[in-house]
Symmetry: C2
Subunit: 218 residues, 2 copies
DNA sequence: GCACCTATCTGAACGATGTCAACATAATCT
DNA sequence: AGATTATGTTGACATCGTTCAGATAGGTGC
C-alpha cells in the first residue's frame, strides 16, 4: 500500500514520507518543546517520538539512549548559553562591568529556559564533568576567563585564574538555580524586577564587582 | 507474643509481622540507602518497598506520592545540612573564619552525600521554593545570616543582609555541585586535596573572605 | 531497466515503574 | 465481645525504556 499517512503532527511544511528526512533534528526540537511546555518530568522518549510523528522505536536509529537524546538537547543549550555570555561580554561598556554583565546574562538564560538549564546540568552532574563544548573556543567558560583577565586578573597565574573562574561560574550557577525561588519574590518586587535583583546578588559576590572601597574612616 | 515491640527493628532473622511497626521511618532509611549506594536513578518506590520488605503498595499508606517520600528523604538531608553548618560555625576561631568554615562544611556535606544533596535541591527546584525547614530556627540559612552579622554586616539593613545571604548560599551551592567535576582533579591534587581546593574557591568569592588587603603600593 | 546494500522506520513484545481499587489483618476503642 | 481505624497484600492498568524481526526507502553497481 502507498503511504496513506495523515501526518497528524506535521510540524512545518511537508507531509512526512516513510523516511522523515531529518529526524535527529526534529527529535531534539521536539524534546525542547516538551521540556519548556510541560517540564522535565513529561520528557519521555516516547513523547518525543510522538511529537515528531514517529514510532517509539524510531529514535533508536539516531540516539543510543534516552540519555543520548538528552545530551543532544543539552548541547544546544550550552551553545546558546555560550552565545549569550559572549554577547553580554561584548556589550559591556568596560572591563569591570563585563563580569557582572556576563553573570546577569547567564542567570537570565537559566531563568528563560529553566527546564533546559536543568537538563544541561543534570547531564553534567551525572557524569561529574563539564560538557565537552564548555571548554571550546567560544564557550562561556572561556569568556569568563578572559573577562577576568580584562578586569585585572593576572593572566600568568594559571591557578589563581582558574580558581577565580570556577568561583564566578559557581556563583552564577547558584544564583541561576535559586533566583526563581518564591521566597525572593517580595525582594525582587521591592528592587524593581528580577534582573535588578540578580545584579544585586551577583554584586555581593566579590568576583563580579570587587568592592575595593576603603572602609569608612573611624 | 502477639506483641513484638522490642523486635521492631529486627528485619533479617525473624519473620516480619504483618504490621511493620515503623514503616515510614524504614522507608526513608531505605530510600537513603538506595540513593547513596545505587544513585538517584535507582531510587524507585518499588525498590524502596522491596528494601523495606513490604509490598509495592504499602508506602501509599504513609506517603501520598513518590514525590512525598522523596520530600521526607530530602527533609532529613536539610536537617543534617543545618546541623553541619551550625557545627562548622561554632567551631570557627573567629567571626571572619566562620563564613569560610560554613561554606566548606556545606560543600563537604554535598560531596559526602551527593545523591541526597541532589534530591534535596531537585525538590526545591521543582516547587521553586526553599524547603520550609530552611528558614527555621536552627537552619543553615539562619546560621549564614547570623555569621554575616558577626563578620560585620549591618544587622539593621535587612535588604543588604538578605542579598549577602543569598549570594553566599548561591555560591556555596554552585561550588557544591561543581566541585566534583573531573576537570578540577589535577588542580585539587596540586592543592593538596579537595578541601583545600574548596576553601580556595570559596575564598575567591568575596562574601566568604573579604580580601581587604591594600593593593600593593606602587 | 535490474539486483543488492544500507539506513531508516514500524509493530509487537518484555520487564519495570507509579498508582489505584479491592481485600486481609492487626491494633485500638467502646 | 464487636466496630472502627490503621496498616498490610494482591492484582490490575497505563506508561515507560528498550529490543528485535520485518517493512520501506534511497542509493549503489550492473
Amino acid at each position: 500500500m502507498t503511504h496513506a499517512h495523515e501526518a497528524a503532527h506535521a510540524q512545518e511544511t511537508t507531509v512526512r514520507p516513510y523516511h522523515h528526512g531529518d529526524l535527529s533534528r526534529a527529535l531534539v526540537q521536539a524534546g525542547r518543546r516538551i521540556l519548556e511546555n510541560e517540564g522535565p518530568a513529561a520528557l519521555s522518549l516516547r513523547a518525543v517520538a510522538r511529537e515528531a510523528g514517529v514510532s517509539p522505536a524510531a529514535p533508536y536509529h539516531h540516539f543510543k539512549d534516552k540519555c543520548d537524546l538528552l545530551d543532544a538537547v543539552a548541547k544546544e543549550g550550552w551553545m546558546e548559553l555560550g552565545a549569550a555570555v559572549a554577547k553580554a561580554r561584548a556589550q559591556a561598556p568596560d572591563a569591570q562591568g563585563a563580569m557582572t554583565n556576563i553573570g546577569v546574562a547567564y542567570v537570565c538564560f537559566a531563568r528563560d529556559n529553566p527546564a533546559l538549564y536543568r537538563t544541561m546540568y543534570d547531564g553534567a552532574c551525572d557524569r561529574a564533568a563539564m560538557p565537552d563544548h564548555a571548554k571550546e573556543a567560544d564557550s562561556g567558560w572561556r569568556h569568563v576567563r578572559e573577562a577576568l583577565i580584562d578586569a585585572g586578573a593576572d593572566p600568568d597565574d594559571g591557578r589563581e585564574l582558574e580558581l577565580a573562574t570556577i568561583g564566578a561560574w559557581c556563583a552564577a550557577h547558584g544564583v541561576a538555580e535559586m533566583a526563581g525561588f518564591k521566597e525572593f519574590d517580595s525582594l525582587k518586587a521591592a528592587m524593581g524586577g528580577e534582573e535588578a535583583f540578580v545584579r544585586a546578588v551577583l554584586e555581593h559576590v566579590g568576583i563580579y564587582a570587587r568592592r575595593h572601597k576603603v572602609p569608612p574612616p573611624g
